[in-house]
C-alpha cells in the first residue's frame, strides 16, 4: 500500500509541516514525483483513533484485529483468506448504510466498521481488502467486484459487493463474501452476477499522492475512504 510523507508530517506539528511544505515545494519545483511509498501501519495511532471515536470497547476490537494480523503473518494464503473472511463476517453485523451512517452508500473504513460493529457489503470488502494487503497479499490479486446478488430462492436481487482473489490475472477468482461465509470459486456462486471490478492499483501514481491535500481525493468515494484510513493509521 502506499503512503506519502506529507501525510505523516501532518501529524507532526507545525514546524515539520512547514519543513514538509518547503520540501514539497522544492520537490515540486524540481519535478521530483513523490511516488507511492510503501504503507506502514501505525498501531498506536489506530488505537488512539479508535479510543477517540468508539471508546474502550473499540480499542478491544482493534487489538483483536491487530493480534489477528500477528497470528496470520506467517501463515499460508488459504489460511489468511479464510481467517480474515471469518473475522469480519463475525465481527460486523450486516445492515444498510442508511441505518448506520445516516446516508446511502457510506464507505466506512475497517476502523469505523469494527467500531460500530455494523456495516454494509462494501464495508466488509474494504476491511478484508485492507487486512489482506496488510498481510502481504499482492494488491494486483485482490479486486473488489460489484455484483448483482439474488437473495435465497426468491427473485429479489440487490446491488452487492464482494472481494475477489485472482491467483493470476486471467484466473477464476475466489470470492470472499458476507452472504455466504465460506470462500468458494466464483463459478459456484450462481447467486451472484459480476458487473465490474476495481482495486487501488494505479490510484497513487503520478505526482500528487497526498490524501487530504489532493483535491482529487475528495471527489472519489474510493479515494476518500483510503484517505480516511491513512488518517486513522492503517496506511
Amino acid at each position: 500500500m502506499t503512503n506519502s510523507h506529507s501525510v505523516q508530517d501532518r501529524r507532526l506539528g507545525r514546524r515539520r509541516f512547514l519543513a514538509a511544505l518547503g520540501s514539497t515545494i522544492v520537490a515540486g519545483a524540481f519535478g521530483i514525483n513523490a511516488g507511492p511509498v510503501a504503507g506502514n501501519m501505525d498501531p498506536a495511532q489506530l488505537r488512539r483513533s479508535m479510543r477517540d471515536q468508539y471508546g474502550a470497547s473499540g480499542v478491544e476490537v482493534i487489538d483483536e484485529w491487530l493480534s489477528l494480523l500477528d497470528r496470520l503473518a506467517d501463515r499460508n494464503l488459504d489460511t489468511q483468506l479464510r481467517e480474515v473472511n471469518d473475522f469480519f463476517n463475525r465481527r460486523i453485523e450486516w445492515v444498510d448504510d442508511i441505518d448506520v451512517w445516516g446516508q446511502k452508500d457510506y464507505w466506512a473504513t475497517p476502523l469505523e466498521a469494527l467500531g460500530k460493529g455494523r456495516g454494509d457489503c462494501e464495508d466488509y470488502s474494504i476491511a478484508k481488502y485492507i487486512t489482506l494487503t496488510q498481510l502481504g497479499v499482492p494488491v494486483a490479486t485482490l479486486r473488489m467486484i460489484y455484483v448483482k446478488a439474488r437473495l435465497g430462492r426468491s427473485d429479489t436481487t440487490i446491488a452487492h459487493m464482494v472481494l475477489g482473489y485472482y491467483e493470476t490475472p486471467s484466473a477464476e477468482p475466489r470470492i470472499l463474501d458476507n452472504l455466504q461465509p465460506s470462500i468458494v470459486p466464483a463459478r459456484q456462486r450462481t447467486d451472484l452476477e459480476p458487473v465490474f471490478s476495481f482495486n487501488s492499483e494505479g490510484l497513487w501514481t503520478g505526482s500528487s499522492t497526498s490524501s487530504k491535500a489532493d483535491p482529487v481525493a475528495r471527489l472519489s468515494r474510493w479515494r476518500r475512504v483510503l484517505a480516511r484510513m491513512t488518517e486513522q493509521g492503517f496506511l
Binding site: 515545494i25 515540486g28 519545483a29 519535478g31 514525483n33 479486486r143 467486484i145 475477489g164 485472482y166 493470476t168 490475472p169 486471467s170 484466473a171 477464476e172 477468482p173 466464483a186 463459478r187 459480476p194 458487473v195 465490474f196 471490478s197 476495481f198 492499483e201 494505479g202 501514481t205 503520478g206 505526482s207 500528487s208 489532493d214 483535491p215 482529487v216 471527489l219
Partner: protein, 633 residues
Amino acid sequence: MSLIKQLWLTILAILLIAFGGSLFIGITTTKQALEQEVRIKNADNANALALSMSQLSKDPTEMELLIAAQFDTGHYRRIELRDPEGNIMESREAEESIEGVPGWFVDLTRFSIPAGEAVIQDGWQQYATIEIETQHSYAYRSLWRSTLQLIGWFGIAAIISALLAWWIVHTIRRPLQAVIDQAREIGRRRFTTSKAPATRELRDVVMAMNQLSSSVSGMLSQESEKLDQLRRRLQHDSTTGATNREHFMRLLETALKREDDQTAGIIAMVRVSRLNELNEQLGRPATDQLLAQIAAALRSVAQNGHVGRLNGSDFAVLIPEEEDLEAVSQRLTERLHPLLDDQSVRVALPMALRRYRHHETRATVLSSLDGELARAETQGDRAVILASDDRENVLFHTHEAWRDALVHAIHEGISLAHYPVLDDQGHLLHFEAPSRLRLRDSWQPAGVFMPWVSRLGLNSEMDLAVVDAALHTIAKDNTPIALNVSPRAANDATFIAALKARLQAAPEAATQLWFEVPEIMAVNHMENFRTLCRELQRFGCRMGLEHVGPEFSKIAQLHDIGLIYLKIDASLVNGADTSADQQSILRGMATLCHSIGIKAIAEGVATEAEHTCLLDIGFDGVTGPAIRLAGDT
C-alpha cells in the same frame, strides 16, 4: 563600492528574487493543476470505457469498434487494450502535436501524467486492461500562455518597482552628495555649512559638520579680531583713531603706485593751529576730545579713503577716485566748522587741498601741500586753499575724447605687463598682469587711464578685453596669470555672463587664471563676491583678494567660499623687517590663512630684507619691486 550602487544591487536582487520566485511558483502551480486535470480525465475515461465494455459480449470486432469510436471522437493520444498477460490486443495512437510552444519550454516543463487504467471484466474473469492517455498538448499551450502572461505582468510590476526604487535612490542621492561635498570642502579646509537634509542619519552628519564649521569660523573671527586690534595699535593714533604718520605715508605711497582706477584723487591737509595754547586753555582731555571729533569728521568725509594724523596738530585726508576739489572742500568745511563753533575758545583750522595723480612722488605731493597749508595759515583761521592744477599733464581734455580714445584702444588690443608673484621657493605662482593701453601712440600704464575707464563706465568692456588678452597669453606661454576684477564689473551680471562664455570657450586656459578683487570690494559686496566666486570656481579659476589689511577681521566671514590666496597690502608689508609689531601681525595673518587653507602673499615687497623676513614669518608668496623671477633682469 558606492552606497548608491549597493542600494541598486540590493533592489535589483530583491526584485529578481521576488519576481523570479513568483514566476516559478506560478508556473509550477499551473503545471500541477493541469497535470491533475489530465490525470483525472485519463482515469475516469478508462473506468467509463472499461465499465461499458464489461457489459458487452467480448467479440473482438465489437471491442475494436468501441475503442475506435472512442478514439476517433474524443481527444486521445493513445488507447490500448491488453490481455491479462500484458499482450497488446488493440492499440490506437495519435501524434503528439504541440504547436505554438517552443521546444525548450516543453522540455523544461515536461508533464508526467500516468495513463488511466481499468480492467474489463468478462464474467468473473478479467478480460483485458484498458489504458488511456489523453491528448495534453493543449495543456502545454495553456501553460505557455499563462507563463507569458505572468512574465508580462511581472515585467510591468518590475518596471513600476524599478521606477519607485529610482525615485527613492534619487531622493537619497542628492542630500548624500551634498554631505560628501561638504566633507570634501572641510577636508580642503573650507568650513562651509549646508542645509540639514530630511534623512535622519545624513542630517546628524550634516549637523555635526555644520557645528565644526561654525566653531572654526568663530575661532577665525576671534583670532582675526585680535590681529585687528594689534594692527590698529600699531597703525593708528590712539587719541583720534586716525592712522599714524608712518602708516599714512605708506598708504600714500601705495596709492601713488597703484595700477587700478584709484590712482588719482584728492589729498587734503588740516592743521589745528596753536595746539599748545589750546591745550592750556581747554585742558588736555577737552583738547583730545576735539582732536578725536575732527578726526571723526574727516573720516566721514573720506569714506573709503584714509585719515592720518601726521603730527600733533596736522591731519591728512586721502580720498581716491575723487576729482572735485570744490565739493570736497565744501564737505570738509561743513563738517569741521560747526565743531569749531561749539568750542569755548577760538580754534584755528586752516586747510589745503590738492589733487594727486599717478606716479607723482610722495615727497612732491606732501611738500607742495605743506606749502599751501602754510599759506592758508597766514590767510586766516578758517582759510581753505585749493591748490591750482596748472601742471596738469593730461592726455585728453574732454570726456568724449577720452571715451573715443579708450574705446578705440580697447578695440585695438590690450597689452599686459608681467609682474611675477613668487612662492617661498622662488618659483612662479603667477604673473600679476596690469593692463597697458595704447593711447597717443605710446603704451600707457593702468594708473593713467583706469580712473577714466571707471568714470566712463567702461569697466566691463575693459575687463573682458583684459580676460581675452590673458587667455591669449596663457594659450601662448602656458603661465598662470592673475587679473583684477574691478568692483563695478564684478557687480555686473552681463559682465559675469560674458566672462563665463569666454571661460567656457577656453577651459584649459581658464584653469590657469587667478582672479583677485580688492578686499574692500569683497567685504562691501559680499553676496556679489560669493556669486562671482561660485561662478568662476566652476571653471577651475582660483580666487583671491588683494590689498588685504584694514578689513582683515571681516575676512573670517569669507572663509567658506574657497579663496585660494590673500595678498596682504603693501602698507602692512613695507618695513616689516624692522618692526617686531608688524611682524607679529603678519605672522598672525599668515597662520590664520594657513589654518583655513589660504595662501598668504605679500604685496609691494620693496627690499631684499623684507623679502627674507616675510618668508621667515611664513608667507607663501611675495610680489613687489624687489621681486624678480630668477633669470630675469
